[in-house]
C-alpha cells in the first residue's frame, strides 16, 4: 500500500537558519508513527513544516498529493490535523466554540455530528464543561480539547506535538489510551512527537529518531525499544 505521508529531502527554515537538513521518512496508512529525539532535534519543526507553518523546501506528499506548496488552511482541510505544542487552546472561547470552529470547513454535516458524539464518548469531561471558557480548563482537559478539536476536522492524519507535556502520569495514560482508540476506531493515522520515548514507543508501531535535523535511526518500535545501545544514546532511558 502506498504510504499516507511521504517526505523526502525536507528542509525547513527559521529566518535564514536551516533547522531541518534534508529529512526523509514516510508514514503508513492507518498506523501510528513516532518521531523521537532530544530537544532541538527538529521534531516540532518537522510537524510545523508538514503543516506549512514554517518555510520549507523538499517534497511532502499526502495521500498522493503534493502539499509542500500549500497554505496551512488548505492542508488542514485536506485532512491533516495538527495538535500543536502547548495545545493551542482558544482560551477566550467556550469549549463548544473551540470544537465548532474546527468543523466549519466541513460539508458532511452528519459526519460532524457523529464526530462530536465520538468526542464526547472519548472525553465525557468535555461534555460537562461544554459552556465553560476553555482557558479555565486544566492542562489535561485542554489537551483533550486540542485532540478533540483536531478530531472535529474529520482528519485522516493527526500530527501530535508532545501531548504528554506537563501532565500528570495518570492523565497522560488516559489520553494515550484514547489516542489508541481514535487510531483504531476512527481509523485516523498519527504522527506523534514525544520527549517521553518509552511512552511513545509503546503506542507507535514505527519510530524515527532525529538528531540535529536529520533522521539517524528508523525501525519498528519493538526493535528500537529492545536495543540497549540506541536507548542509551538517543532515547535517554
Amino acid at each position: 500500500m502506498a504510504p499516507l505521508l511521504e517526505i523526502s529531502s525536507l528542509r525547513a527554515y527559521y529566518g535564514a537558519t536551516e533547522a531541518l537538513h534534508g529529512l526523509s521518512f514516510s508514514i503508513a496508512q492507518g498506523g501510528i508513527t513516532t518521531l523521537l529525539g532530544a530537544n532541538g532535534a527538529g521534531k516540532t519543526t518537522t510537524l510545523r513544516a508538514i503543516s506549512g507553518l514554517v518555510r520549507r523546501e523538499g517534497s511532502i506528499v499526502f495521500d498522493g498529493r503534493p502539499i509542500d506548496k500549500m497554505a496551512t488552511e488548505d492542508i488542514t482541510r485536506l485532512g491533516v490535523a495538527h495538535v500543536p505544542e502547548g495545545r493551542g487552546t482558544f482560551v477566550g472561547l467556550s469549549v463548544e466554540e473551540n470544537l465548532k470552529i474546527a468543523s466549519y470547513g466541513r460539508r458532511d454535516k452528519s459526519g460532524v455530528r457523529r464526530d462530536l458524539d465520538l468526542v464526547f464518548t472519548y472525553f465525557p469531561r468535555l461534555k460537562e464543561r461544554i459552556a465553560q471558557q476553555a482557558g479555565t480548563l486544566s492542562g489535561g482537559e485542554q489537551q483533550m480539547l486540542a485532540i478533540s478539536r483536531a478530531l472535529m476536522l474529520g482528519p485522516r492524519l493527526m500530527l501530535l506535538d508532545e501531548p504528554s507535556f506537563g501532565l500528570a502520569p495518570l492523565i497522560v495514560q488516559e489520553i494515550f489510551q484514547i489516542m489508541r482508540r481514535i487510531n483504531e476506531e476512527a481509523g485516523v493515522s498519527m504522527l506523534l512527537v514525544e520527549q517521553n520515548a518509552a511512552l511513545a514507543l509503546n503506542l507507535a508501531e514505527n519510530a524515527y529518531v532525529l538528531e540535529t535535523g536529520t533522521v539517524v535511526m528508523a525501525g519498528p518500535s519493538a526493535e528500537l525499544k529492545n536495543d540497549e545501545g540506541i536507548r542509551k544514546s538517543y532515547l535517554g532511558y
Partner: protein, 301 residues
C-alpha cells in the same frame, strides 16, 4: 437638577460616538496588536463620501448604506494592499504607515472637497417630544443608531460562524490556521468592519461637529481614551469606556460651572473638560493599567 440630567443625556449621546470609535479601534487592536491612528481620518473621509451621495440627491439612509459598503471595501483594501506586505514589519514601521494613512486621507478630503466647513444633515426629524427639554432628537437618534450598531456587531461576533472565525483568528492565529480559518482574510474583514463602524460614527456626529477634515481629531482622542479606560482588549469594556468618557467630560463642565456659580471661584469649565477628562482617564489607568475590564496578560518566561 434639570441641567444635570441634560448634561448626562448629551454626554451619553457623544459617548455613543466615542463608543463606536473605541470599538473600531479595539477590533483592529485585538486582531493585530496595533492601534490604528488613521481610524478617525478614515471615518472623516467616509463621512465626506456620505455627504457626496447626499449632494447627488440620494436620501440620507441609502447614502449612509452606500457609504458603509464603500468604507468596508476601503478598509479591506487597505489591509490587503498596504498592511499585508508589512506583516512581519516592526511596530514602528506600522505606526509610520498609520500616520501616513492619516495624512493621506486628511489631504485627500481637503483636496477633493476643500477645507471649508460644511453643514451635514441630520436624518432625524426635529420634533419636540416628552423629555425633549433634556435631549434633542438627533442626540437620541445618535444613541439609538450606535446601540443598534453595537448589538448587530455583538450578534455577528457571537452567533455567526464568520464571527466566531474572526474571534478565533484574533485570539490565536496559529491555532486558527490549524483548524482551517483563513486568518489573512479575517484580518482584512476586521479592517473592513472597523472602517464601516467608523463611517457610521462619522455620519452620526457630523451634524453636531460639522463636516471638515479635522472633525474626527478630538473624537478619535476620546475614542482612544474610552478604549483604554474600558480595556483595549475587551470590546464590551471599550464601549462602556466610550460612554463613560462622554458622560465624564460633560459632568466635569457641569460641576465646574456649578462651583463657579456657588463659590465664585473658577476652577474648570467647558474649556478644560477635555483636559480633566483625560486626567481622570490617566488616573484610572495608573490604578488599573489594563483598563477597568481589560485582561492583564501574564506571560510565563
Amino acid at each position: 437638577m434639570e441641567q444635570l440630567i441634560q448634561q448626562i443625556a448629551s454626554g451619553l449621546a457623544s459617548g455613543a460616538i466615542y463608543a463606536l470609535v473605541a470599538l473600531a479601534l479595539v477590533m483592529i487592536f485585538t486582531a493585530t496588536d496595533h492601534l490604528n491612528f488613521a481610524q478617525g481620518e478614515m471615518a472623516m473621509f467616509s463621512t465626506y463620501i456620505c455627504w457626496q451621495f447626499i449632494q447627488w440627491g440620494f436620501p440620507f439612509w441609502p447614502a449612509l448604506g452606500f457609504t458603509i459598503l464603500f468604507s468596508f471595501l476601503l478598509g479591506v483594501a487597505i489591509e490587503r494592499v498596504i498592511l499585508r506586505p508589512l506583516h512581519n514589519a516592526s511596530v514602528l514601521s506600522i505606526v509610520v504607515v498609520f500616520i501616513g494613512l492619516l495624512a493621506i486621507f486628511h489631504s485627500l478630503a481637503g483636496g477633493i472637497w476643500s477645507h471649508t466647513i460644511k453643514n451635514f444633515p441630520s436624518p432625524f426629524p426635529n420634533v419636540t417630544f416628552a423629555g425633549s427639554g433634556y435631549i434633542g432628537a438627533h442626540q437620541i437618534g445618535m444613541i439609538l443608531v450606535s446601540l443598534l450598531m453595537l448589538f448587530a456587531l455583538f450578534a455577528f461576533f457571537r452567533f455567526t460562524p464568520l464571527g466566531l472565525a474572526m474571534r478565533a483568528a484574533a485570539q490565536n492565529p496559529v491555532s486558527a490556521r490549524l483548524v482551517g480559518v483563513k486568518v489573512d482574510w479575517m484580518l482584512a474583514l476586521g479592517w473592513g468592519l472597523a472602517a464601516a463602524v467608523g463611517a457610521v460614527a462619522g455620519a452620526m456626529v457630523a451634524p453636531v461637529v460639522y463636516l471638515e477634515p479635522n472633525m474626527m481629531a478630538s473624537i478619535l482622542l476620546y475614542g482612544f481614551a474610552g478604549a483604554l479606560v474600558g480595556g483595549i482588549s475587551n470590546p464590551a469594556g471599550a464601549v462602556f469606556g466610550g460612554f463613560l468618557v462622554g458622560v465624564l467630560e460633560n459632568l466635569v463642565a457641569y460641576f465646574g460651572n456649578l462651583t463657579e456659580k456657588t463659590f465664585g471661584i473658577y476652577i474648570v469649565g467647558n474649556g478644560e473638560k477635555l483636559t480633566v477628562a483625560l486626567i481622570i482617564v490617566i488616573t484610572i489607568l495608573t490604578l488599573k493599567p489594563a483598563g477597568l475590564f481589560g485582561r492583564t496578560t501574564v506571560r510565563r518566561v
